[in-house]
Amino acid sequence: MSVEAGDIASGVYPGQFIHAEAPGRSLRRAFSVFSVSGDSLSIIYRVRGKGTRAISALGKGGILDILGPLGKGFPRPGENPLFLAGGLGAAPLGFLASKTSGGVFLYGAERECDFIPEELLNIPGHTLIRVCRGSSGETVTDILPEYLNGAGALYAAGPTAMLKKAAGVSRGKLKTFVSWEETLGCGTGLCMGCAVKTLSGYKMTCSDGPVFDAEEIDWDAC
């Protein structure tokens, strides 16, 4: 979905999100920004529940009430970045990768149809490697160890189980940043509903994150 977003679009950085009102629902829905073009930003989502269905029903030309850009995004990548995307985690990482080149983009999904099409992902300066669990039985984290050597840092986004496995693989070898997923309340740190356990206590996904240094997370609590 592409949204005419004015200053929100021009101010957004990869890893940050918008918080969109889902008509008729009590909570907003958070979406990582996938790309920005002028005053427009785009998000990629799958219709999974009542909120995304309500947003989808707005249709072309509809008005989406959004707050943003919110949260802390990824640090700016240095040389030889390594990206690890699971499912729709490819959205923020695709945006991040578009800001750099010369990296490797590992991209896993359950089914072939779950991948964001390569032409849409549009990361020509990187080596894209896709792993479809449904057809190969392999997960993207299975191949991660092969790509750690020589990488500058690892940037990961996707399901928590994938992030946990990736953080275990890269620990002590490669600086790792993860984009955390949790149900958000207010999206601005006020309600304390989106807690994530870190080694220094609970932090809020929306305002302290969603991007965290993997070394901060208390993975045993996840």
Partner: protein
């Protein structure tokens, strides 16, 4: 829309409910200073509270269930870190307090009473503390209120739960010296997420009919002013609670969805007046 509530003179009768607006100051940087009559801070306790492990928040039909677990930084850090920023705002602030122990209420109230707060709100009704609190019954709540009353001259708002015999409790609190009642905290509730059962507090439009009945029952029996809190997001909600006798209105879940919810209601009110 000026309002007077429990001796507080407010520019309008709308307040941010405790727990939904952080420590009161944080959103001003992003959204500007809110057009509220007052803000109520997140509940502050004598010592820091870590809160519950995630997940903490769930959407239900017409509502939200939360199980934050009273996470807060404790009164010391609140005074050092949050109060200077909170007091720099022009709008009145009400500090919400809670003590796990009976003897802790008085000292806690004493520490925050000379901080420029317009009033204190006693959180006597957090459903996420069930089993840990002593303020479960009217007697316990009244004792807490009395202890606070002895420690401060500030107006005291008692936040109760529509679920917990609200008239009986309000009566006991009024006798103990409460200046106003806030009805209601979130209602005890449960959800199942991914096959796991979680208990928490339900808020939002789903609880409005329950709270409306409780507000009406209290205002019918007692003279203590009541602030309604439960599913308020529109002028119609305000009118209905007004009809039930409420004199002020706290916004909670509505602020999570729309940080400008009070402005929206005020705008509706102005438009309504212009249209006769």
């Amino acid at each position: 829309m000026p309002a007077e509530f429990a001796s507080l003179k407010l520019k309008n009768p709308f307040m941010a409910a405790s727990g939904c607006f952080g420590y009161g100051w944080e959103s001003a940087g992003t959204f500007g200073e809110p057009t509220l009559g007052a803000v109520v801070t997140k509940t502050v306790t004598p010592e820091p509270v870590e809160g519950n492990p995630p997940p903490r928040i769930f959407e239900t039909e017409s509502g939200i269930v939360n199980r934050i677990g009273l996470q807060n930084c404790g009164v010391r850090e609140f005074i050092e870190r949050h109060l200077p920023r909170l007091s720099s705002l022009s709008l009145p602030y009400i500090i919400s307090i809670y003590s796990f122990s009976r003897k802790g209420w008085g000292p806690l109230a004493g520490r925050v009473s000379e901080t420029g707060a317009a009033a204190l709100e006693l959180n006597l009704s957090c459903p996420n503390l069930k089993g840990k609190r002593f303020t479960l019954d009217s007697e316990g709540c009244a004792l807490a209120l009395e202890a606070v009353k002895q420690a401060t001259n500030l107006p005291l708002l008692a936040k109760i739960n529509a679920y917990d015999a609200p008239v009986e409790l309000s009566c006991a609190l009024a006798e103990a010296g409460a200046d106003a009642v806030v009805c209601s905290n979130t209602l005890p509730a449960a959800v199942i997420k991914n096959g796991v059962y979680f208990e928490g507090g339900l808020s939002g439009p789903a609880i409005k009919p329950v709270v409306l009945k409780a507000v009406k029952a209290i205002t019918s029996e007692l003279r203590i002013p009541v602030a309604a809190c439960g599913g308020i997001s529109s002028l119609e909600d305000v009118r209905e609670y007004s009809q039930a006798g409420a004199k002020a209105f706290q916004l909670g879940s509505a602020l999570l969805k729309n940080p400008r919810a009070a402005e929206k209601i005020l705008r509706q009110s102005r438009e309504d007046k212009q249209n006769g």
